[in-house]
């Protein structure tokens, strides 16, 4: 039960918060030998890939890469509702992959909270609920925050660290 990362996406699909928690090590490719050693473990074929990673957890990517992915997720979220085989459907709520899953909670006001966690994370929804409360407290009640802009409030980081630490059990 590990939380790998949290995203917050605003109404327009802009990524306003992204943090990775535990389970990742920022491994950046270095000269030949070291790069070879690190990549042997992950068996990724070509060494010039921007990042290599250990078996569990997710990669540490650049801010821009996360921004692009958030935009994609925003688009996919809308489409998954439109291609539904039944009359009424929300957008995507859970994306499952072999070694991790993404749980998405969209508020009535259109803000998306995304939890990237191990697949055995049973309380993902309740963790996202706590993240929403932390957002309401440490971001919405902060006079120095402008709506829809990236969040860099120390109060929110502190609350998030506490939530992630508590969610491990």
């Amino acid at each position: 039960m590990t939380v790998y990362g949290v995203w917050v996406i605003n109404k327009a699909g802009g990524l306003i918060f992204q943090r990775n928690y535990g389970g990742i090590k920022p491994l950046t490719p270095r000269s030949g030998l070291l790069c070879f050693l690190t990549s042997v473990r992950s068996l990724s074929a070509h060494c010039n890939e921007p990042v290599t990673t250990i078996s569990d957890g997710i990669a540490q990517l650049s801010a821009n890469e996360y921004l692009v992915m958030a935009g994609t997720l925003h688009g996919v979220h809308a489409i998954t509702s439109r291609i539904a085989p039944v009359a009424k459907s929300s957008g995507v709520q859970i994306i499952e992959s072999e070694s991790f899953k993404m749980t998405i909670h969209m508020t009535l006001t259109g803000i998306k909270f995304v939890l990237i966690s191990s697949t055995d994370m049973s309380n993902a929804e309740s963790v996202l609920q706590k993240v929403y409360e932390a957002y309401a407290d440490a971001v919405m009640k902060n006079p120095f925050y402008t709506l829809e802009m990236p969040i860099n409030a120390t109060g929110f980081d502190a609350r998030m660290n506490a939530i992630v630490a508590a969610s491990g059990t």
Binding site: A138, N142, P143, F144, A153, T154
Partner: protein, 267 residues
Amino acid sequence: MFGGSSSGAAGSNPASSSSRFSIPAITSSSLSTGNTTSVPSPTAQGSKRQSSYLSSQLNNLALGGGAGAAAITPPLTSIVDRPVNRMRGAEVGMGAWAFLYSAIVAHSQSRVESIVDLEKRLASLGREAGQRIIALQLLRNAQTANLKDPKREHRLIPILQYIHTQIYRYCFGKAADGLEKSVDGDDEYMLTSNQPPLTQHISLPRDLSQLSCEAFTAGLVEGVLDGLEVPARVTAHTVPTDQYPNRTVILIKLDQVVMDREAGLGK
């Protein structure tokens, strides 16, 4: 309280300290530029609605007929008739306070140029609130104690302790975490609180790291001290520790008048 006479129906000028605050026309001294042009009411529709409202009001005031501007007596029940303790012990949600204070800080920020001015504005709001709080508390102390000899602190240390416990509990739900005399001088005292509740949701951006939104609390303490005849300059300083990143010290710099009086009163 807010200065100036209030024009309540009672007509009498309520005693300054124990009356409710009322919003007088602003005395000319405090405003340099005269601005008497009356601004056309933007919500024309608002005033139209009002006139229809007026007619209904006029009828029940049994003054029917005549243009809306007939000489009607001001409101029948005035503030003096309302029970002062109706809201005693009443509470509102912390969210309401947090959003109000956040809006106050944001609004003040847009009207000032520097951190010092922002803190001054917040402090002035705190002072207005503090003056009314001490007035209300003294009134209630008098009401609970028998009215013949209402007890009121007059010596410095008991006053500071009264603020440290009673006033802090009234405003913040719990007493301050510490009251100490500062080492720098006899006329400086410090009230510390590890987790000030009123500004718990605020995170300062890097460029405003010197700001302390607890300036409101400093102003409040100054207003209370003022109500207890202890003039002082009170400022708020964030003194973070690992455990308490928002720990705040309210520094009280007492006026010389107070020091002389204390010396005079002796032990």
